[in-house]
Symmetry: C2
Subunit: 450 residues, 2 copies
Amino acid sequence: MSQIAAPPLPSGRVVTDPQIAIGYATDQSLGSTAPDNFVVVRARDRDDVVAVLEHAQAHRIPVVPQGARTSLCGASTALEGGIVLNVEALNQVEVSTAERYAVAGPGIVTADLKKAVAAQGLFYPPDPASSPMSTIGGNVATNAGGLCCVKYGVTADYVRGLEVVLAGGEVIRTGRRTAKGVAGLDLTGLFVGSEGQLGVVTEVVVRLVPATDPPLTALATFTSLDDAAKALVALRAERHGPNLLEVLDRSSLVAIQAMEDFGFPQDAEAVLLVQSDRPDHSAEDVQRYAKLLTTAGAEDVAVADDAQEADALMAGRRALAPALELKGPHFIEDVCVPVAQLGNLIRQSRDIGRRTGVEVVLSGHGGDGNLHPCLFFDEQPGSRERAEEAFGQIVDAALDMGGTITGEHGVGSLKRRWLPRELGDAELARQRTIKAMFDPYGIMNPGRPL
Amino acid sequence: MSQIAAPPLPSGRVVTDPQIAIGYATDQSLGSTAPDNFVVVRARDRDDVVAVLEHAQAHRIPVVPQGARTSLCGASTALEGGIVLNVEALNQVEVSTAERYAVAGPGIVTADLKKAVAAQGLFYPPDPASSPMSTIGGNVATNAGGLCCVKYGVTADYVRGLEVVLAGGEVIRTGRRTAKGVAGLDLTGLFVGSEGQLGVVTEVVVRLVPATDPPLTALATFTSLDDAAKALVALRAERHGPNLLEVLDRSSLVAIQAMEDFGFPQDAEAVLLVQSDRPDHSAEDVQRYAKLLTTAGAEDVAVADDAQEADALMAGRRALAPALELKGPHFIEDVCVPVAQLGNLIRQSRDIGRRTGVEVVLSGHGGDGNLHPCLFFDEQPGSRERAEEAFGQIVDAALDMGGTITGEHGVGSLKRRWLPRELGDAELARQRTIKAMFDPYGIMNPGRPL
């Protein structure tokens, strides 16, 4: 780790203990491993970020901006010969009730931001499943989504402005702090979802909305996937639509029940979980959803009358991640298609699983058309490659339906092979030119994915 | 008009009648006049736009993209030696209820888009005052706002993706059609608010929300501006906040009453207009607003119990534009400050009026901190210059409060002198570099403002 010229920083910023440094070298993506040679900087303020990016550009050292390392696509693992620039310590937050925004450091954990805002009677909606661990900086980098996007949209819908340090150390501010503003080009949207490739975000201004009611929940079991898909589209058309609309396929239910009995019938083809958080009307809404689900062909519909029951119904959904973990080695993927195509995507994904002999478990944010296929492999030679090949076929199917290779996880290093198909060569070249404008020496998280 | 090389287009696209052409040469901005030498093209489809932009780049001819010419800042008037590229005929619209979006041509009038969407039980919220005339393409070009932004946000908050023809004729698609998506950089936000300087938008994908209830209205009269400003901030903090929160100062009331009696007291310092459109709760909301307004010190509060009465209360607000028109020559401006600063901005703007002897009428979208100062002048030598100088002082005051030189009208040619102060030289240079990336020969609406 000593082969990289150390950035000129006050003491305590560069991690000198290799055991600690190694902890910052990997993220949650499959096969994430530490390179031989890297330096970890834990920035404490913007000045540290500026110093690192000045130094890194001068010495052409690649920089990996990093928060809580929850990336599933390899966007935040250390690069050989590079600096890992961790900004978790930039975790301040200031809430303005009058202006209805929060100004947050990139390192604040999303759940903590939501709490700080809730304490003022306000709501920051985006809720990636990682929100108890992931940071707002990482959420901005991936334009994170989550469970309540079906009603509230994604991170980009809430980012009003940014402070960003560019390669070389220049500090810029994008967007606005006022409710409206159209002086000059708004660069904010370029940075949201840019996966640390254009600069390091050091401040995020997010707009806030009024607090909602605690959600109530309905859970519907379907013996026909087609019926579940139809119910999903019908729910989307509701005037007072759900704030959550999750889908679990049969193999998800089997995996969950294998871990713990949540009462899911193992012969069901799909379960839909639906919530309403509409102030003063959540109970009425879920009753209406329940009727709609029954009419659509649900075999059984359970409705939670209070927050505690609602939580019990959601517990099965939350158990999915550990249940998949128990089943064995796998990767959790992320594709998104038009909502009306979701049933089709689930069906084709199953067929692909059958055809390739790869076990595919399907669940996701149904209301957004956002599916998280989970593909399993084992220690047999070629098993993982077969799983990756099967996922490639799912990606092709999603793209053929007008979908995207990633709804909310980002492209990172693991999915870059599919980016040219989605964007086309001309667009990819344009995006590389834009990256070069902000980062002429290509030091910002190179290859993830541009 | 014959000195400009004519683009290779099917017949009927280039306007050959000079009387008709002249009608496309100016917009609604103050002092807008036709240049001597220009060509008008009325595109019928994307191919026409491609042909014009190929031709224009090859011959280095400036192009002014144009919809309904409602610009108040000179963004859409013809340029000497240039092509006016009108896209009003690209006015198709397709609504998807399942995906909750509309795909619209840039030429569709915003009110028509809203109607098409409403027919499907959905709502496209942005509502610039110009919406009965202005087009969605123009709304995208200026990131248009309007009256209901206090609840629903601005045009940018609804644009999910664009099709754009670049200088030279390349057709690109930005953003996404799916509910989520983060593959590559999202260029959409760069184009929204770019005032026709990066390319010509030929398709807009806007996300839609469920229909609201018809709004009900409360109207409050204040003898103290400070009280009105405080009430405004308190209303913003409401959990079930208003969808409209307009402010009119005393001179606005006098101007309106001079035209027609809407029952406004002429000795009031300010009027606040507040609406709720919350389904099933609008009556309850406006009653609560009325109480809040009274507590805040309103002298009088009128509440509309039904849509017809609500409309009557709003009629005075709508009469403002013709009333100002009657008063004499003026320009309507557009600054935006943090909401908590609005009272301060109104006070300082009045002082500036008094000090400079310029009549300043103040009104605007109070809930957004978005003020539309209207400055009057006459035929006396130096009168208009004095009004412009007074407005310059208002701009300075707004910027000092952390505001912007334009909330929703754009910069165009008329406000570019203030852009360097808001953006700074480094940012301006960066934005020019971005423009040059999309438009290397600088043919796209040059000088408005980049």
